[in-house]
């Protein structure tokens, strides 16, 4: 098989009269870090929502490892191997840090109420296994010490890290991060960049929406630029930086320094 893990064909989403995603086609190579950038309201989050099955498509197709994802439920898509985080952090606020990650391993659990209630040895062993695995993902994002705290008591930057750990706990092949750097300070962002690189080293393909251009330019292998729902450019960071349409789209934005290296 070729190196394409995820592919969209003329992907389209309309909300009433608003075309949030306009016939967008692209391919994601296995093992790459692909950034999706664009001004506010460009349709980046909507694109993630379409791929993860949150919104039904208005038109087009999505393929994951050759399998058509159209119409599949979010939990099915998740268990096929596509995980994501949210632009506005969505942790389970009634649980500890560790429990949040354990939920991510839910589909690895095959024992239910009865077995657990009877404390069957196999069910208990499985629980221990899940806890151990969850702790691994927590150490990966540097939260091992925080396991027993309530998830929402973490500082914001760590909540974002926890979301990544929770998504990774589902053992995805594609990880979609929606503005993981938003609200993080410089050292936290450097930490994040290292983490994303480490995740890719582990064989996971990363899709990344990000506003911080410096961050994106240093990290992404390729970039797709959306504007008003339309894909206006695609290429390496260097190619995108010099693309006149991209420059035009970002004119009037405060942060255009990245366009002229």
């Amino acid at each position: 098989m070729d190196g394409t893990i995820l592919k969209t064909v003329n992907l389209r989403k309309e909300f009433g009269g608003v075309v949030a995603v306009m016939d967008v086609s692209f391919e994601v190579e296995r093992g790459e870090i692909l950034a999706i950038i664009g001004p506010n309201g460009a349709g980046k989050t909507t694109l993630f929502n379409l791929i993860s099955g949150v919104h039904p498509l208005t038109g087009g197709e999505i393929y994951f490892k050759g399998q058509r994802l159209n119409g599949l439920k979010p939990h099915v898509i998740s268990s096929l191997g596509i995980a994501r985080t949210f632009q506005n952090v969505q942790l389970f606020g009634n649980m500890t840090v560790l429990e949040n990650v354990m939920v991510g391993r839910h589909h690895r659990s095959s024992y239910g109420l009865l077995a657990a209630a009877l404390r069957l040895p196999r069910a208990r062993a499985e629980e221990q296994e899940i806890i151990a695995k969850a702790r691994e993902y927590l150490s990966m994002v540097g939260l091992a010490e925080r396991a027993e705290l309530n998830a929402l008591s973490l500082p914001f930057g760590q909540q974002r890290m926890l979301e990544i750990a929770r998504a990774m706990a589902t053992e995805p092949e594609v990880l979609m991060l929606d503005e993981p750097g938003a609200g993080l300070n410089r050292p936290e962002k450097e930490e994040l960049a290292r983490l994303v690189e480490q995740i890719r080293q582990g064989g996971v393909t990363v899709l990344l929406v990000e506003h911080d251009m410096e961050f994106v330019m240093g990290l992404a292998d390729r970039i797709i630029v959306l504007d008003y729902g339309e894909k206006i450019a695609e290429g390496t960071p260097a190619e995108v930086q010099n693309n006149p349409r991209v420059i035009a789209a970002y004119l009037g934005e405060e942060d255009v320094g990245f366009l002229r290296p």
Binding site: V54, K73, S78, L91, G93, S109, L113, A123
Partner: protein
Amino acid sequence: MNQRVGVAKTESKWKLSRELVGKGVTVAVILGVIAFVLFLGYKKHFETRHYLQLAIDGIRGGSIYALIALGFVVIHSVTGIINFAQGEFVMLGAMLCATIYHSDLSLPPVLKLALAIVLAVAATTLIGVVLERITIYPARGSPVVALIIITIGATITIRALALLAWGTRAKWVPAFTTLEMEDLTFRFGGLIVKAQSFWIWGAVAVVLAVLFYFFERTVMGKALRACAVNRRAAQLMGISPSRMSLLSFALAAALGAIGGIVLAPATRPTYDMGLILGLKGFVAAIMGGLVSSPGAVLGGLILGAAENIGAGVTSAGYKDIVAFVILILILLFRPQGLIGGGERAVEEG
């Protein structure tokens, strides 16, 4: 910009003072009711032990309300539905247990009762599962109000089928201790407690412990809680909402059945017992804000004690009024529940 901050401030102040007034009103109403009850009791020459006796008997019924209320909470927090068929699960548990116990099986009474209990819980759970699959599942994605109305329809159907199957005559289940209709009674000072009360409290305690273990320690329990607090995020973690909905109905049905079975020897189960029990359980759940399990349990116990004391100082005929007065007062003044802030589900962004 500054203006907006100003507006926000007055708004929050206004909200705060409204909250304080609300709390004040609640406390005043509760104190007023207690004073009124004591006054009525005084006129009847009640002593402390009378109140204690009423409270103990009330808490027995209240334990059943607590189980029913937990069923409401489990289903509501996972699916958003208020399942009015909850009381019917109680009826089914009790009636099935009685039917199996009185069947022609030639077994010693103890084994027969044990078998009847196990089968009745299993069958009611199965009915809960089937109910979810044939009524709620096909309508999934409909507005919650529609689903709630479906559960009302299911309630009426189940009750009608029960009437066809069992008629209007009351059944009986033997007391667990004596295996006779007549139960043992214990005396503690001036207080009388029936042996079945201990079975009821024991069963409730065991059920609570198992539930606690399930929700706190198992991954599936955590998945259910995740679904309750953020359905969208849970779904994106690979959790199937329809599977969780099914699980919540199974749990709620089992809880109801257990309640009905341990209650059965203390009452005479009939095909229509589910209506009033379901409503009482609903009131108890509302007392805890519909999303809090500890709140639901406390609500059930308090409701049971309150209505029994209320009936004691007035007359038995007024018993049911207490629950509905509480319901109306809560909905008017504290729709978020009296006890314990629960885990409100957040909507995804």
